[in-house]
Symmetry: C2
Subunit: 195 residues, 2 copies
């Protein structure tokens, strides 16, 4: 990794921070340049276009997400313990540094009506997250912790929905109540998948 990539990597970290408390659109070349203490043109040279910048921020966020949620959980035991850890990490990802918008939901909403590279990339990343979650549920079946005939795609949808619903609830109702409801609903799903 040469110095250029290192610098870019550090810029992308700053950018991701901005996305998480300003949304995607607000991270302009101008605002990011100011944040990292560079000139607009100096920063521009790193990306060559706003679209490419957004693409790289998105990929950076996806890398970090894959690491913080999935890769890290590989250390825990296959099956249910790992699934629990993944879900726990997933939820806590949106509460570090005083919370912040989910970069993927933000990007999905803001680019929903703008077909192009960025929108495609978002769908790719969200699709991968869902697939990774699905895989970790499949493993629970393999380990005999979930019933053999479980429709794991549906189970994935149900758990993913609880997570996304939680993101909305956390901003609408009291934090503690919201997260308690999640825990109960999640455990009920687990129980249902187990018998």
């Amino acid at each position: 990794m040469n110095s250029s990539t290192e610098r870019t990597h550090s810029i992308l970290n700053t950018a991701l921070g901005l996305v998480r408390n300003m949304g995607f659109e607000s991270v302009s070349i101008a605002s990011l340049a100011k944040e990292v203490g560079m000139s607009k043109s100096g920063l521009f040279a790193h990306f060559n276009s706003k679209e490419k910048m957004h693409l790289m921020i998105l990929d950076h966020a996806a890398d970090k997400f894959a690491h913080d949620i999935f890769r890290i959980s590989l250390k825990s035991k296959r099956g249910l313990p790992r699934l629990r850890l993944i879900v726990k990490n997933w939820l806590s990802w949106f509460q570090v540094n005083g919370g912040g918008t989910c970069p993927f939901l933000a990007a999905a909403v803001e680019y929903d009506s703008r077909p192009g590279l960025v929108k495609d990339r978002i769908q790719l990343h969200i699709g991968r997250m869902i697939k990774s979650l699905n895989r970790s549920i499949d493993i629970c079946v393999e380990e005999g912790e979930f019933v053999n005939d479980l429709d794991t795609k549906k189970a994935t949808y149900e758990i993913y929905s609880l997570i996304v619903g939680q993101l909305v609830y956390l901003r609408t109702i009291e934090h503690k109540t919201a997260s308690k409801m999640f825990k109960i609903s999640f455990e009920e799903l687990i129980n249902r998948y187990s018998v």
Copy 2:
């Protein structure tokens, strides 16, 4: 209702259409003026500021939502039939005119990091939707269709989550598969609440 309010109402309808296929931020005074065939300053006079315009668009969307989802379903029988209709209307709301972003989720995401009148209003509206959904579930308990000791707040969270999760899934995986999974998961929840 004088002609000014009628005109404003018609403008808000156009604005809501724009929100649903451009997102919230993209509906600027300039772009909305062009869409309705007015000058910027002419349109500006209707709202007096961009923030007030966004507030009024939001309120207009909430009015329409309350009517299209909840008020209309009052015609069906109290309890489960009405709940089913509400959920059906809710989902179909995002598929008329070839789909489109949910204005409330769009606003919530885009204004998440901008405290102020608009953000407060969004939380108000989302809170009201959830409360309305909760009420319709309470009625199912009153009617004896759901068990008496059902935690209806948790049930509300679970059904709301399935809906929000569906909005993401519709944009990520094949439409038919997504909506079939919703139907199955929703019916399972209903069954669980009934015994």
